[in-house]
Symmetry: C2
Subunit: 234 residues, 2 copies
DNA sequence: CTGCTTTCGCTACGAGTCGTAGCGTAACTG
DNA sequence: CAGTTACGCTACGACTCGTAGCGAAAGCAG
């Protein structure tokens, strides 16, 4: 939840979750959008703030990102930021989440090709300075703040599991993978594959600091799909 | 390099890089050790500072770790900290690096058993609050600071690649893996396996926030060793 | 148009941290 | 002993944080 401490939370570009969560003290009931009574929040300000956040992230990194800086850059008062986001962490989650929406499952006709394509997309995303500056810092904050970790998962991580689901479904439709029998086992399998792909690519790029080449992608995909390299006979 | 801006760097518990591992302040050893002339640095202070760092990390997390706090806890002046470590980042690298030394390659008689054992050890290490608070935060800082990333790699990440090398060598001795032919290909294979294991376990524990169970470890190891789950025939 | 409500920009503030400087004292060497 | 270096302590300017208070602006209901 980006903000929602002031009297009445108004849904804006940054407050899509307002509907999902009550949060409005004066609001009558669950149902429809809370009818705004006073001056509505500027949607343009939301966009300007999120843009300014991404730009500052790219230029100065996580450490150089201050609320005052973002406010100045977005041509907005610092108090306006705090009216919408309780802290830097929540602001950056919203600013970065949209970047991950560009990932798509291409369905190229084979499981191997699909995996390699998604890995390449993810690698490109992780090569961007905004993403680099924000992602690990958010994850780090999330290890202490459970609420934040939940928000990160909901806004950034979990939505990408659809890629694994779609890829698996496509491979099953092609006959490359056996159809699911136990749904809970399928869920665990999706989790483990997701953690493996996301974790490995992140570690390669952000920790080891090595680039993701087509050759590396090919090797990694082989490790996933096939047996261990040079296993047993050879 | 932990410190070394003052006139002469004296090797202490926190300054092993001064020359391989002299460690003993009064021991001239073989090489070129700089002969200390004035009052030697207190090795006890180093230990107290590193202990205080780990304790504060465990209690207050990365955000709650301030130089003043550590100094107070270690019963040391704040200036003493800055005389040895230029910033929080370098201090934490040294404080955390030793925790990773406890990881060992057991050689249990099969590649699968060895992998599972190492994964379990790594999972235990990541479950500790000091490690959780520090690791991702350091990685995040490392994405902006190349020097720091290098230090993290040298002190924390790379030393653990020995586990992969030892495990591979043991498996080759057993005949489970084919012997190396191209040494550079072997190096890349070690890198990719390391990134995969470390990245996946980190993502599972620190991002997804799910525990590492024996069942999960078994599944993950199967994913590495065998073909994709429910691949092709079944 | 007129009030009502809420947001907006602005300024100011106390609290906390950072990293450094200066000083007198302690410890060790030759 | 003198020389050298580390130590503890205090103080400091610069910065960021998050909040409070104010008058003005922007929609909405009558």
């Amino acid at each position: 939840m980006p903000a929602a401490q002031p009297p009445v939370s108004q849904p804006t570009a940054a407050n899509p979750s307002a509907a999902a969560l009550p949060a409005a003290p004066g609001a009558p009931a669950e149902a429809v959008t809370v009818r705004a009574k006073g001056r509505p929040r500027s949607a343009a300000a939301d966009l300007a703030i999120l843009d300014a956040t991404r730009e500052t992230l790219a230029e100065l990194g996580w450490g150089g990102l201050t609320m005052g800086h973002v406010a100045t850059r977005a041509k907005v008062a610092k108090t306006t930021l705090y009216r919408r986001w309780p802290s830097k962490n929540e602001l950056v989650v919203d600013a970065v989440a949209s970047l991950f929406d560009e990932l798509v499952m291409p369905d190229l006709g084979s499981l191997r090709a699909d995996i390699e394509a998604v890995v390449a997309q993810f690698a490109d995303l992780l090569a961007r300075p905004e993403t680099q500056a924000a992602l690990l810092a958010l994850f780090a904050e999330g290890t202490r703040d459970r609420q934040l970790r939940r928000r990160i998962r909901e806004a950034i991580v979990d939505p990408q599991k659809r890629l694994v689901r779609q890829g698996r479904a496509a491979a099953q439709a092609r006959g490359e993978l056996a159809p699911d029998t136990d749904p809970s086992a399928a869920g665990e399998e999706i989790d483990i594959i997701f953690d493996t792909i996301a974790g490995t690519v992140e570690h390669r790029v952000l920790v080891s600091g090595e680039p993701i080449t087509p050759e590396w992608t090919r090797r990694f995909t082989s490790l996933l799909l096939g047996p261990f390299p040079s296993l047993a006979a050879d």
